[in-house]
């Protein structure tokens, strides 16, 4: 590993790095549109041009140009250094790059910015990218000029439907080709390309195809401007009203790191954005995962129920107390859920095995589904590994059905409502379900207690590769929902036990023993949100 200098500051680099990538690793941004750390570099936006100082004893590479002398109105011949794109310049030992300190670089950025905005429509007020747009940011940082061209700008197709998920606006496009490269390089489906030249340049979908597959949202995500928008987020919210929280996608066992964007005024989630994590999802998420933010609101069970009738949480806890009176521990079973966090599962496991003394532990989850070689995992539960780690001997739900049918189990404590098999037969027993969403286990529950979903509490999830990841709370709990581990603590109390956990910190302290938390998004482990 060597170092080179950027504006006099030493920058370490790894073999194969370009100047822009090595700087990016150090948190220094060289302005760019087309470069993306997860994609190849086409060097076509010219925003990252930098000056390379000549090596000692070498002649500088200069260009002869004509410059207008404002005082005389005459052009005079001058020389300027030949600038190089930082995204295409390999980092090498002793290289000296002049970026922000070079007047030529600053002028180049200014001019590139003016060029890119030459035909740009006045769309900020109706553009979804507004507020997180590179064109806006760089105009203020590097442009700061007023329009000189007073001609009618070139018009291009607007609102072109690329597929079920993506809409394209040719006028906003800066032709960085990030979407084209993403589809070719990451999604391995080169369905997008460019056509025409010059100011008629536009992105199009291969004839006879539409932009589909499992990674279309990422074309919008990589778009540095508002050219690509998703049908899902289009015109739904203004980004400056949104707040963001680091979380973990619940769509499958990959456990992609994500930002959950929500509006605190309405306590509503609006979208996911991938959160860079080289160990898990690099920079990407799949379409199915990107849409799972909706489960913060859709299909939620937000009220306590006894026998299907809505009651207060206190009444439901009374019903649990009456139901479990005089029941021996051998007749009680606990069902853990790969859909819920490690904390929730630990609390139920602790209640069932340590306090009640039950020996029958089962594990549930969602059925398996589509998988691919990129990100999507066959297992559609975010915490299968976590449950297996917590209760290695947990039996499948089918075994529970058999035990209930045989009369060995009469009372069941369940966290999570998803199941892979039909659980209607459980109606023969008394079922207490604590879950965030409606589902089979919620339907058969004698007593149902609403739990917060992942978006409403801080929770730990173990992905398919055994990495513990923490997702933070974004929303306020909806309805009567409370964290499942807290509902379970209350159940313990009505059953006559003293639950040894009152705060998430105490639950976490029990969990931390076994494995270190990897890719923790924030210092939540030491200071959990209460």
């Amino acid at each position: 590993m060597g170092t080179f200098k950027l504006d006099g500051k030493p920058i370490p680099f790894e073999p194969g790095d370009t100047v822009i990538k090595a700087a990016w690793r150090q948190g220094i941004e060289i302005p760019h549109y087309c470069w993306h750390p997860g994609l190849s570099a086409p060097a076509n936006c010219r925003m990252c041009l930098v000056e390379i100082a000549p090596k000692p004893g070498q002649r500088p590479v200069v260009l002869d140009i004509l410059e207008l002398d404002a005082s005389t109105g005459e052009y005079k011949p001058v020389q300027k250094p030949k600038l190089q794109p930082a995204c295409y310049t390999p980092a090498s030992e002793g290289l000296e790059i002049i970026s922000d300190n070079s007047p030529h670089v600053r002028k180049a950025r200014h001019d590139v910015q003016e060029f890119l905005l030459l035909n740009h429509p006045v769309d900020c007020p109706i553009c979804d990218q507004s507020g997180e747009c590179k064109l806006q940011d760089y105009w203020l940082e590097h442009g700061r000029y007023q329009k000189r061209m007073r001609d009618e700008p070139v018009h291009k197709p607007k609102g072109v439907v690329f597929g079920k998920t993506i809409v394209y606006d040719g006028e906003r496009c800066v032709m960085c080709t990030r979407c084209v490269r993403f589809m070719a390089e990451v999604a391995k489906d080169p369905v997008l390309d460019m056509r025409e030249r010059g100011n008629l340049n536009e992105i199009f979908v291969a004839p006879g195809r539409e932009l589909d597959g499992h990674y279309t949202f990422m074309t919008e995500h990589v778009c540095p401007v508002g050219a690509l928008t998703t049908q899902d987020f289009r015109f739904k919210a203004r980004v400056w009203f949104l707040r963001t929280t680091p979380t973990v996608c619940q769509g499958c066992a990959t456990g992609c790191n994500a930002h959950l964007d929500y509006d605190p005024r309405y306590n509503r989630a609006y979208r996911y954005r991938p959160r860079d994590n080289e160990k898990v999802n690099q920079f990407w998420m799949c379409d199915e995962g990107m849409l799972t933010y909706k489960e913060a609101h859709d299909g939620r069970a937000l009220e306590a129920k006894v026998g299907g009738a809505v009651v207060s949480t206190a009444k439901a806890l009374d019903a649990v107390k009456a139901m479990f009176a005089g029941v021996g521990p051998d007749a009680i079973a606990v069902v853990l859920s790969a859909q819920h966090s490690l904390e929730d599962n630990w609390a139920l496991h602790e209640l069932g095995t340590a306090l009640v003394g039950a020996k029958s532990v089962y594990a549930s989850g969602k059925p398996e589904g589509y998988q691919d070689a990129i990100l999507i995992h066959r297992d559609k539960n975010p915490n299968t590994k976590g449950v297996a780690e917590l209760a290695p001997g947990a039996k499948p739900v089918q075994a529970l059905l058999d035990d209930v049918a045989a009369g060995r189990i009469t009372h069941v404590l369940v966290v999570g409502s998803a199941a892979t098999v039909d659980v209607e037969a459980l109606r023969a027993s008394k079922v207490v379900t604590i879950a965030a969403h409606d589902g089979p286990f919620a339907a058969v529950a004698s007593v149902f207690l609403p739990a917060t979903a992942w978006a409403e509490h801080s929770g730990t999830y173990v992905n398919a590769r055994g990495m513990r990841q923490v997702g933070e709370a974004a929303l306020q709990p909806q309805g009567d929902a409370r964290p499942a581990w807290r509902q379970i603590a209350d159940i313990a109390t009505v059953l006559g036990y003293e639950a040894p956990w009152k705060k998430i910190r105490q639950v976490r302290a029990q969990l931390l023993g076994s494995a270190p938390i990897e890719s923790t998004p924030s210092p939540s482990v030491s200071a959990p949100a209460e």
């Binding site: 905005l117 006045v122 007020p125 507004s130 064109l135 806006q136 105009w139 442009g143 700061r144 329009k147």
Partner: protein, 404 residues
């Protein structure tokens, strides 16, 4: 019934000699509704005075720190609310110092003229109100009539009589109106006429003089040690005026004198303010003479100045500039600055810290009358209860800026 004093001897018949405790304010008309003085009285003589401020505390510094840099202007309007323009200009100068921006010459003259109008309004209010609190109601009406003329001009220029919110980072909200110079030229003469009339009534009045002269004197050294600035400091004979000592805008290019007192008593403070009204008139006359009629009023720095509306609606560059400034706020370079101007009461200082974002990280305001009010107890201890009214009145304590 037996007489109450049947068993008392002569000595016990004296009046009780324990000091009396009296709360003066905050709900007292002469305390401006915002100050409480806990007095320890021996008869009518003040043995000890405990001046307690904070009844108008609104946390304005913290309020300033939650919006964008430009959204601070309405808050600073409400500091010294009898001269909001001086607060506006002071804050604008502070942010401009942090950004390294200079405003065009026309704007500097305009800011000076408006600021001096505000100073006249400030001094008229203070002197008129103090006279009224001593029972002289007619001069108060004349001073307020003169103040109305100032406010008419300010209303014409800014659209608001009191809380103008007219300052902008890098300029002013609007250029001067076409009538500005004519209005100023006409008004300042009339204002001075009214001031002279009121002055005649007061300064030939034995009672008025007796209630001010040698009441609440303070030495120059003591005033400096208390951190006093402005007319209250100058009444002691120390000619410290920021406009002269550390000129800003175009104050080094205009002729004006710094009126000073000799004894530092309440009468001197009253006279200093009257003198400053005359000097402000001189400054305004020079400003309107030298202010160009044409030319930009705002700096052309796109980091802080809003683009023209035509550009916003028709060009993407204008839209972006507008969007960035309104939604995210002007990005003031990271750093800290202390900028100070001569406010109505003295040194009005803004200590600003920027973390480089669109929102101020810290807005610390040094209101001149905070230090001045801190010296009030020294002026009134040992005096009669009735002396509080003129003494406090001449300090011109403004709760809006003092309580922070």
């Amino acid at each position: 019934m037996e007489p109450l004093d049947i068993d008392l001897d002569e000595g016990e018949l004296e009046l009780p000699a324990d000091p009396m405790h009296l709360n003066m304010g905050p709900s007292h008309p002469a305390m401006h509704g915002t100050v409480r003085i806990v007095l320890e009285l021996s008869g009518e003589t003040i043995v000890k005075a405990d001046v307690q401020v904070g009844y108008l505390h609104r946390g304005f510094e913290k309020m300033c720190e939650r919006g964008t840099w430009a959204q601070v202007f309405p808050y600073v309007d409400r500091l010294n609310y009898v001269s909001p323009m001086l607060n506006n200009v002071g804050y604008a100068l502070a942010v401009e110092k942090l950004c390294g921006i200079a405003v065009p010459e026309r704007c500097q003259w305009y800011r000076m003229a408006l600021g001096e109008l505000a100073r006249i309004s400030d001094h008229l209010t203070c002197n008129g109100a103090m006279a009224m609190e001593l029972g002289a109601f007619t001069p108060f009406l004349w001073f307020v009539k003169a103040r109305e003329m100032v406010w008419d001009i300010l209303e014409e220029e800014t659209g608001a009589r009191l809380t103008h919110s007219f300052g902008r980072i890098g300029g002013m909200a609007n250029p001067p109106t076409a009538d500005f110079k004519a209005m100023c030229g006409m008004a300042v003469g009339k204002i001075l006429g009214l001031v002279e009339e009121g002055e005649k009534m007061l300064l030939k009045n034995r009672i008025f003089i007796d209630r001010l002269q040698n009441v609440g004197p303070i030495s120059g050294a003591e005033a400096v040690s208390l951190g006093w600035t402005g007319p209250c400091l100058r009444s002691t004979g120390i000619a410290y005026d920021i406009r002269k000592a550390h000129p800003y805008l175009k104050y080094d290019e205009v002729d004006f004198d710094v009126p000073v007192g000799t004894r530092g008593d309440t009468l001197d403070r009253f006279l200093c303010r009257l003198g400053e009204i005359r000097q402000s008139k001189r400054i305004i006359e020079q400003c309107i003479e030298r202010m160009p009629d044409e030319g930009p009023i705002n700096s052309d720095d796109p980091r802080v100045v809003l683009p023209g509306k035509t550009d916003v609606y028709t060009t993407i560059e204008g839209t972006i500039q507008h969007f960035k400034l309104i939604m995210e706020g002007a990005k003031v370079p990271a750093g800290e600055v202390y900028s100070y101007t001569e406010g109505g009461n003295g040194e009005l200082g803004y200590y600003l810290v920027s973390d480089g974002s669109g929102t101020p990280y810290r807005v610390r305001i040094r209101p001149p009358c905070f230090q001045i009010t801190g010296g009030l107890h020294r002026l009134i201890e040992g005096r009669m209860l009735a002396d509080i009214v003129p003494t406090f009145g001449a300090l011109n304590m403004i709760g809006g800026e003092c309580d922070h």
